[in-house]
């Protein structure tokens, strides 16, 4: 695998981390969905590139799924849901964007330290880089879920975390079952989106704001 291939893969993985940071930055709903589409696009590109350099044809399937499902269908579905249920468009954050980004940087540093220390010389440099970036995307996704108040932005955070996982899975050369795992994950994500719609049935909730949901916690009354 010559230098050139490593640089492209490295750039794509780095790009994914950058887009995750952009996700953290957004404070408008529709902008968030667009950035998520970009996030999925970069992921599918990176998977496709991995497929090309590893010569593993079966990786093209998850690349196609990522492109079709996560880049196109889900953002559109979410957009229509947001319009239909007129969920309020602004994203309330818990801490504010500045500190969130700072926390993001700390998380990326942590994942770099953990991953590079963990993967010694025995593992080839590309896989080490991929894992480090994947861990940062996962942690940034989790950070987003923790720092956002409304359900849709949490779901986007979850999906970005899942993209990080797919990046790790494809980065690990020759990992079997990647296709099955990506399919399982997409089923999971589909369920989530449908769940959002189901829970949103008119006579039950007015908004999907997670805080309103909690008032129905059992034993409260």
């Amino acid at each position: 695998m010559d230098r050139h291939a490593f640089d492209v893969a490295h750039m794509l993985a780095g790009g994914l981390v950058l887009v995750s940071f952009m996700l953290l930055y957004q404070d408008r709903m529709f902008a968030l969905l667009n950035v998520f589409a970009v996030h999925a696009l970069v992921l599918s590109a990176s998977i496709a590139w991995q497929a090309y350099i590893q010569g593993a044809e079966h990786l093209y399937v998850p690349a196609a799924i990522a492109l079709l499902l996560k880049a196109v269908i889900i953002p559109i579905a979410l957009r229509r849901i947001v319009i239909r249920l007129d969920i309020h468009r602004s994203i309330e954050t818990v801490v504010g964007v500045g500190p969130t980004l700072f926390a993001g940087i700390a998380l990326v540093a942590l994942s770099m330290v953990v991953m590079l220390k963990a993967t010694g010389a025995s593992i080839d440099p590309l896989a080490r880089e991929d894992l480090a970036f994947a861990l940062s995307v996962v942690l940034l996704g989790l950070l987003m879920m923790v720092m956002r108040r409304n359900a849709v932005s949490q779901i986007v955070g979850f999906m970005s975390m899942e993209n990080g996982l797919l990046l790790a899975a494809t980065g690990a050369k020759g990992m079997p079952l990647v296709v099955e795992i990506s399919i399982a994950f997409s089923v999971l994500v589909a369920f989530i989106v449908i769940g959002v719609f189901l829970f949103r049935i008119r006579e039950r909730f007015d908004t999907v704001d997670v805080a309103a949901l909690d008032s129905f916690r059992g034993e409260r009354r």
């Binding site: 818990v94 942690l139 989790l142 950070l143 923790v146 997670v210 909690d214």
Partner: protein, 667 residues
């Protein structure tokens, strides 16, 4: 061979539990149920008595039940045989009493099945020879007695008593479990045989844990709070078993762990045991004096008598720690003899209170009175029990107290300074609690049986049935026999004492006319038989002389009333008024007793009101803050149930980041 019979006896008890469960609501159920228990107990008594008399080598038996790789060991050695005798004597008495008393049990289905289970569990504790079997039987004993305590579950106090009881019992079991953990670690196995051979790693820790575990079940002071609540809550024959017999099983547990498994004692152990014993006996009797519920009064007395038993055990530990086997044998014999005596007269007293409860439906002494006229035989039996527990000469209570005092008199030989100060103080506490016990039982017997009936229920009381009476009178006779012929009883104890302290008291029973000489003729001797004979002869002689010389005329008339007729029975001394002087002298310090009198202004027809406030220092000082702490912590942690999903996610997130940091820093 006897251990086999003993196990068959336990099997019969377990079977009768099953049978009783099936036929509980049937008319003859209680006769069959309690009859089976009576038979089984008598059988077990014969087996253990036979063993004690022969005193062969310890017999053990192994069953593949219990812990998978160690199985269940059962052993009959002199200590186990003696306690088996005590347990089953109490069990037989209670079963005989229950045959009669059972008829006024509102819900037999809740009492009948658990009673044989309770007896079987107690027997198993005494027979068990491995840690798992011992603890299983111990906790099963607590569980069965908890079920009996909450048998009358319509009364919320019983439920509260049951709850506090099962909580304290489990705390005790946890302590024992940790003690067995240490013993098993040093000996590599859970069977007592292995534990006996290996010397334990931390004997001091084991003693503390055994003291907490067995002490909480027996009712030593800081751990006694459940006893006055739980024992009265159970039906009377079960209260008799719990107070008379279960506390003895707790003493057995303590002796088995400390004397048998724990190797040579250190000197400071006895300091701890004797201090706790002294405080228990004093606080127990003072608590009893403040009560006006008959069964709670008796339960508090159990705490006092357990204090006396543990005083004997403490002295035995002190002597054997300083390699003085002969005095240790004397102290241990005193303690074991008091175990036997207490199980007798405490059961008798609870039978009496049960008979009173059955006849009048009342436990509160303020609503009884004048029962001696209507229930003469119960009154006589209760009087014998009262005199025995107050350590009055012809009866057995005095003999064991006398032996304990003799043991205290020998203890100046102990070199350690702490003991030189604590033992006389403990002796003073023992004497004080014996005298206060006499005062308490004058109150109990006087207010309940003597004087004029204070309520209609007391006036309409009728004598109890024959079975209860036979049980009571048999126990009273045994109390007299043990008081009059202590020699043979102490010789029966000798093998037990020799097994544990390596020495035995000089043989008693063939001395001149059965007198008791614990150490030497010149030192002290007491002859129960002749004292009884001389007192009886004196009485008969005086009756005869007065009968011949004096007049025999009798005239009935109203009692002396100083001029104004006392119609209302309430003008008699009640339980509170009887205890008022003693409360004023002792209670102000021990219970923060305060009396507050509200006199209505002149001309106002409202009655004056005297309110007495007592505070239980142990409960307020130790248990109330503990419970409050748990409630506050539960309250604060409860907020975690009502967090938002995001906050739960942040918990996960923090856990993940924390662990990643830990890994990256440390490895």
């Amino acid at each position: 061979m006897q251990v086999g019979i003993a196990l068959w006896g336990v099997a019969v008890l377990l079977a009768s539990a099953g049978v009783a469960a099936l036929i509980a609501s049937h008319r003859w159920a209680r006769h069959v149920g309690y009859g089976l228990c009576l038979g089984a107990c008598l059988g077990l008594m014969l087996a253990s008595g036979h063993y004690l008399v022969l005193a062969p080598a310890p017999q053990s038996l192994h069953l593949p039940v219990g812990l998978p790789w160690t199985g269940a060991y059962f052993r009959l050695d002199p200590l186990a045989a003696y306690f088996l005798l005590v347990v089953n004597l109490g069990g037989a008495g209670a079963s005989l009493f229950a045959i009669g008393y059972g008829r006024n049990e509102p819900q037999p289905a809740r009492v009948l099945p658990f009673y044989p289970l309770f007896l079987a569990a107690m027997n198993l504790v005494v027979l068990a020879d491995d840690a798992f079997g011992f603890l299983l039987a111990w906790e099963l004993m607590s569980l069965a007695s908890w079920a009996l305590v909450v048998a009358h579950h319509h009364d919320p106090d019983n439920l509260r008593a049951g709850y506090i009881y099962i909580l304290m019992a489990s705390f005790g079991t946890l302590a024992l479990l940790l003690a067995f953990g240490v013993l098993a670690a040093s000996s590599g196995g859970y069977s007592f045989a292995e534990m006996r051979s290996a010397s334990p790693a931390a004997p001091g820790l084991i003693l503390l844990l055994a003291l907490v575990g067995a002490g909480s079940k027996a009712g030593l002071v800081p751990l006694h709070v459940w006893l006055p609540l739980a024992h009265p809550a159970a039906p009377s024959h079960v209260s008799a078993l719990m107070s008379g017999v279960m506390t003895k099983v707790a003493v057995y547990g303590f002796m088995r762990m400390v004397f048998d498994l724990n190797g040579a004692p250190a000197w400071w152990w006895s300091v701890l045991v004797i201090t706790l014993a002294g405080i228990s006996s004093l606080l127990g009797v003072l608590g009893a004096l403040m009560q006006h519920d008959l069964k709670r009064l008796l339960a508090y007395h159990t705490v006092e008598n357990i204090g006396i038993i543990f005083l004997g055990l403490g002295l035995a530990l002190a002597f054997s720690a300083h390699a003085l086997p002969a005095p240790a044998a004397l102290a241990l014999s005193a303690a074991l003899f008091h175990v036997f005596n207490h199980s007798l007269f405490k059961s008798l007293l609870f039978f009496g209170s049960g008979a009173v409860l059955g006849a009048t439906g009342e436990r509160d002494m303020e609503r009884l009175g004048g029962l001696i006229g209507r229930m003469p035989l119960t009154a006589f039996a209760f009087l014998t029990g009262a005199m025995a527990i107050s350590a009055l000469p012809p009866l057995n209570g005095f003999v064991s107290e006398w032996l304990t005092l003799q043991a205290i008199l020998i203890s100046p030989q102990l070199p350690s300074w702490a003991l030189k100060l604590i033992v006389p103080a403990a002796g003073a506490m023992l004497a004080l609690s014996a005298a206060l016990a006499a005062a308490c039982f004058v109150k109990a017997f006087g207010v309940t049986f003597l004087g004029r009936p204070r309520t209609a229920a007391a006036a309409a009381a009728r004598e109890t049935d024959r079975a209860s009476l036979t049980a009571m009178l048999a126990a009273a006779l045994l109390c007299l026999m043990a008081g009059v012929l202590p020699g043979p009883c102490l010789d029966a104890l000798a093998p037990v004492v020799e097994a544990l302290t390596g020495a035995r008291m000089p043989p008693q029973s063939w001395l001149t006319a059965l007198s008791l000489v614990p150490v030497a003729e010149s030192r002290s001797s007491y002859n129960g038989l002749l004292v009884f004979v001389f007192v009886a002869a004196g009485t008969l002689l005086s009756i005869a002389v007065v009968y011949c010389v004096g007049s025999r005329a009798v005239r009935r008339g109203p009692a002396w009333d100083c001029g104004f007729p006392l119609v209302s029975p309430l003008s008699q001394y009640s339980a509170d008024s009887f205890a008022q002087p003693i409360r004023r002298v002792f209670g102000r310090v021990v219970f923060q007793a305060r009396e507050h009198v509200e006199m209505p202004p002149p001309g106002d027809a409202r009655p004056a009101r005297l309110t007495v406030t007592l505070k239980d220092l142990v409960w307020d000082g130790l248990y109330a803050p503990l419970a409050a702490g748990v409630v506050i912590a539960a309250e604060r942690l409860n907020h975690l149930q009502f967090l938002t999903i995001r906050q739960y996610l942040s918990l996960v997130f923090v856990a993940l980041v924390g662990l990643l940091l830990a890994v990256s820093i440390w490895t």
